[in-house]
C-alpha cells in the first residue's frame, strides 16, 4: 500500500512540474510577443520621422517648418484621439460588423491589450500623416489638425473595424468575407491616400502650379538629401510595420521582412526600367517614391505571398508611381509629394496582388473579387467621408491659406519660425514682424 502512495506522490509531482514548465514557456512567449510588438511599434513611430523628412524636403524652403509641424502634431493629437475614440471604434465589440462600440477612453485593459493599442496607435498615426505631404504649402495649420483628428478618430478606425475589427468580440464585415490585408495596404495606406486626394481637390493647386495654357510646372523641393534620408527611414520602419503585424514573435517574420525588402527594391527597379524605356530622366524623388510604392504594395500580402511574387508586386508598384503622378497632374490635381499615387494607387494594387498571388492558391477569382470589393469600399468610404469633412472645414473654418501667406511661406505666417534664417530669401520674412509675433 505504501508503494501505491509513493507512486501516486511521484506521479503528482511530475504532473505539477510539467504544468509549471508549460506555464513558464507560455509566459516567455507572451513576454517575447510583447517585446516584439512594442519594438516594431517603435519602428513604426520612427516612420513619422521618415514622413517628415520626405515631405519637408519635397516642399519649398519657405514651408519646410510647417510641413514638419504638421507631421509632429498630427502624431501627438492623433495619438490621444485614437486612445479616446479610435481604438473603441476600430477594435471594440463589433456586433454589427460596421464599427466597434466599446473600449472608449479605455482605462482597465489587460497587459496585452495595452501593447496592441500602442501598436495600432502608430498605424493610425501613419494613415493620418499621409495626407499632410499631399496638401503641403497651402493649407491652414488649424484646419489640417481638425482634419487629422477626424481621420484618426473616425475615418480610419471605422474602415479598420471592417477589415480588422473584433479584437474584443464580433467581426468586421470585410474580415468575415475573407478580405486579406495583412498590414494595411488598404486599411492604412489607401485610406490615407484617398483622404489626401479629397483634401487636395478641395484645396486646389498651389499658386501657378498649372499655367493658364495648361502647362504643368514643376515646383522642386528644397532639400533632396532630406528626401533620400526620409526614404531610407521609412523603408527601415516598414520592416516593423509589416513584421510587427504578426502580433507574435514567430517563425513567419523572416519571410515577411524579406518580401517587404524585395518589393521595395523591385519598386525602384520598376520605376528605373520605365523611365529608361520612355527615355525620361531617372529622378531621385521618383526612385524613392517607387520604393515606397513597392513597400505599400507588399503590405497587404507580405505574409501570404512567395518572394518571386513580392518582386512582381514591387515592379508593378514602381510603374504605378511613375504613371500615377502624371495622370493626376493631367487632371490638374496638385499632390506635392505624390502621396495619392504612392499610398492610394499602390495600396489598391497591393490589395489586389495579395489576392492574385496568394501562396498555394494563385489567381483565385473569388478571392480577387473580395479584394476588389475591399479596395473599392476603401475608396468610397475614405474619399467620400474625407471630401465631406474637408468641405465642411472649408465652409466653416477655411482650408486654404491666404495667397499672401502662400507668397511669404507658411513657416513665417503660421509659426513665426524660419527653417533656414541665414539663407532664406529676403522676400520671405521681416525680422521685426517676426519678433513682434513671438
Amino acid at each position: 500500500m505504501r508503494w501505491v502512495h509513493f507512486f501516486i506522490a511521484v506521479f503528482s509531482l511530475s504532473v505539477t512540474q510539467v504544468s509549471a514548465a508549460e506555464l513558464s514557456v507560455m509566459d516567455l512567449q507572451a513576454s517575447l510577443n510583447t517585446a516584439w510588438v512594442v519594438l516594431t511599434g517603435v519602428l513604426v513611430f520612427f516612420m513619422q520621422a521618415g514622413f517628415a523628412l520626405v515631405e519637408s524636403g519635397m516642399a519649398r524652403a519657405k514651408n519646410s517648418v510647417n510641413v514638419i509641424m504638421k507631421n509632429y502634431l498630427d502624431t501627438c493629437i492623433g495619438g490621444i484621439v485614437f486612445w479616446a475614440i479610435g481604438y473603441g471604434l476600430m477594435f471594440g465589440l463589433n456586433s454589427s460588423g460596421w464599427f466597434g462600440w466599446s473600449h472608449f477612453f479605455p482605462q482597465d485593459l489587460t497587459s496585452w491589450d495595452w501593447t496592441f493599442m500602442f501598436f495600432q496607435m502608430m498605424f493610425a498615426a501613419t494613415s493620418t500623416t499621409i495626407a499632410s505631404g499631399a496638401m503641403a504649402e497651402r493649407i491652414h495649420f488649424s484646419s489640417y489638425l481638425i482634419g487629422a483628428c477626424v481621420i484618426t478618430g473616425f475615418i480610419y478606425p471605422v474602415f479598420g473595424s471592417w477589415a480588422w475589427g473584433g479584437a474584443h468580440g464580433g467581426e468586421g464585415w470585410l474580415k468575415s468575407l475573407g478580405f486579406i490585408d495583412f498590414a494595411g495596404s488598404t486599411v492604412v495606406h489607401s485610406i490615407g491616400g484617398w483622404v489626401a486626394l479629397a483634401g487636395i481637390i478641395i484645396l486646389g493647386p498651389r499658386l501657378g502650379r498649372f499655367g493658364g495654357d495648361g502647362k504643368i510646372r514643376i515646383i522642386p523641393g528644397h532639400n533632396l538629401s532630406m528626401v533620400a534620408l526620409g526614404g531610407f527611414i521609412l523603408w527601415f520602419g516598414w520592416f516593423g510595420f509589416n513584421a510587427g503585424s504578426t502580433l507574435i514573435a514567430n517563425l513567419d517574420i523572416g519571410k515577411i521582412v524579406l518580401n517587404t525588402h524585395l518589393s521595395a527594391c523591385a519598386g525602384a527597379v520598376g520605376y528605373m526600367l520605365t523611365v529608361k524605356l520612355l527615355d525620361r530622366p531617372l529622378l531621385l524623388t521618383g526612385t524613392i517614391n517607387a520604393s515606397l510604392g513597392g513597400l505599400v504594395g507588399i503590405t497587404a500580402g507580405c505574409a501570404s505571398m512567395d518572394p518571386q511574387f513580392a518582386i512582381i508586386t514591387g515592379l508593378i508598384a514602381g510603374v504605378i508611381t511613375f504613371v500615377g503622378p502624371a495622370f493626376l497632374a493631367s487632371m490638374k490635381v496638385d499632390d506635392v509629394v505624390d502621396a495619392v499615387s504612392v499610398h492610394a494607387f499602390c495600396g489598391v494594387w497591393g490589395t489586389m496582388a495579395a489576392g492574385i498571388f496568394y501562396a498555394g492558391d494563385l489567381f483565385d477569382i473569388s478571392r480577387i473579387a473580395i479584394q476588389a470589393l475591399g479596395a473599392c469600399s476603401a475608396f468610397v468610404w475614405g474619399f467620400g467621408t474625407a471630401f465631406g469633412v474637408y468641405y465642411l472645414i472649408q465652409l466653416f473654418v477655411g482650408m486654404r491659406s491666404a495667397s499672401l501667406h502662400e507668397q511669404r511661406g507658411l513657416d513665417f505666417t503660421e509659426h513665426a519660425e524660419i527653417g533656414y534664417p541665414e539663407f532664406q530669401d529676403i522676400a520671405v520674412y521681416d525680422t521685426d514682424v517676426m519678433n513682434s509675433k513671438r
Partner: protein, 220 residues
C-alpha cells in the same frame, strides 16, 4: 575730370548708345533725339525696370503706342548685352538730390508709396514679351476683391492702366501688401511660382538698395 568720372562717363555713353540702337528702328532722327534727351534727363539714373515709366511717357504718341511691347523687348535686349557694372553705374551716376526730387515730384510725398510704386513696377516690368501687360490686366481685374477703399482702388486702377501716375493718395501698408500680392499671383500664373519667387527677391533687393533707410519687406 578724374579717372573715376571718366569711367562713369564712358559707362553712361555705352548705355546711351544701347538705348539709341534699340529705339532707332521705331522713330525718325528728330524724335529719337528728343526721346534720348528725355531719357538722359529723367531716366538715365534709374534702375532698368524704370523703362516702363520711360516707355509710358514716350508712348503718348499714338504711333509709338502700337510698338510699345516691341520697343520694350528691343531695349531689354540691347541693355542686357551691356556688362552688369554699366547698368549698376547708372545709379551712382545720378546726383542723389535729383532722384529725390523726381520721386517727390512724380510719385507723391510718402516714401513708402514711392517704394511701393517701384516695387510694383519693377515686378511687372521684369518679364519680357506681353507678360507685363497680362500682369497689369490681372491685377486690375482682381482689384475689386482686395479690401481697399474705393477711391484708392480707382487711383491704383488708373495707375496700372497707365492713365495717370499714382500720387497724393493715402495708401496704407495693408492695401499695398494686397496689390503686391496680386502682382505675385499674376507672376505665378504667367511665369510659374519658382520664377515668381526669384523675381520677387531680385526686385525687392533692388528696391531695398534704393531705399536703404527703409524696410522694403514691410510691403510684402
Amino acid at each position: 575730370m578724374n579717372s573715376i568720372q571718366r569711367i562713369e562717363n564712358l559707362k553712361f555713353m555705352q548705355k546711351r548708345t544701347a538705348m539709341q540702337e534699340a529705339l532707332q528702328p521705331f522713330m525718325d532722327t528728330r524724335l529719337l533725339t528728343e526721346t534720348l534727351s528725355l531719357w538722359e534727363e529723367k531716366y538715365s539714373h534709374l534702375p532698368t525696370f524704370a523703362l516702363q515709366h520711360f516707355l509710358h511717357e514716350i508712348c503718348q504718341n499714338k504711333l509709338l503706342l502700337a510698338q510699345r511691347s516691341k520697343m520694350l523687348q528691343a531695349l531689354i535686349r540691347s541693355l542686357s548685352a551691356l556688362p552688369d557694372d554699366v547698368l549698376e553705374s547708372s545709379k551712382k551716376n545720378a546726383p542723389p538730390q535729383k532722384a529725390a526730387v523726381y520721386v517727390q515730384k512724380e510719385k507723391g510725398q510718402s516714401p513708402e508709396l514711392s517704394m511701393f510704386i517701384d516695387l510694383v513696377e519693377g515686378l511687372i516690368a521684369f518679364s519680357a514679351r506681353d507678360i507685363p501687360e497680362k500682369i497689369r490686366l490681372y491685377v486690375m481685374e482682381n482689384l475689386p476683391k482686395a479690401e481697399i477703399d474705393t477711391e484708392n482702388r480707382w487711383a491704383i486702377h488708373a495707375w496700372l492702366d497707365e492713365e495717370r501716375p499714382l500720387k497724393e493718395i493715402a495708401l496704407d501698408v495693408r492695401s499695398m501688401q494686397q496689390v503686391i500680392n496680386l502682382v505675385y499671383i499674376a507672376l505665378c500664373e504667367y511665369l510659374g511660382p519658382v520664377k515668381a519667387d526669384a523675381v520677387l527677391n531680385t526686385v525687392l533687393a533692388i528696391v531695398q538698395k534704393k531705399y536703404p533707410s527703409m524696410n522694403a519687406n514691410k510691403l510684402l
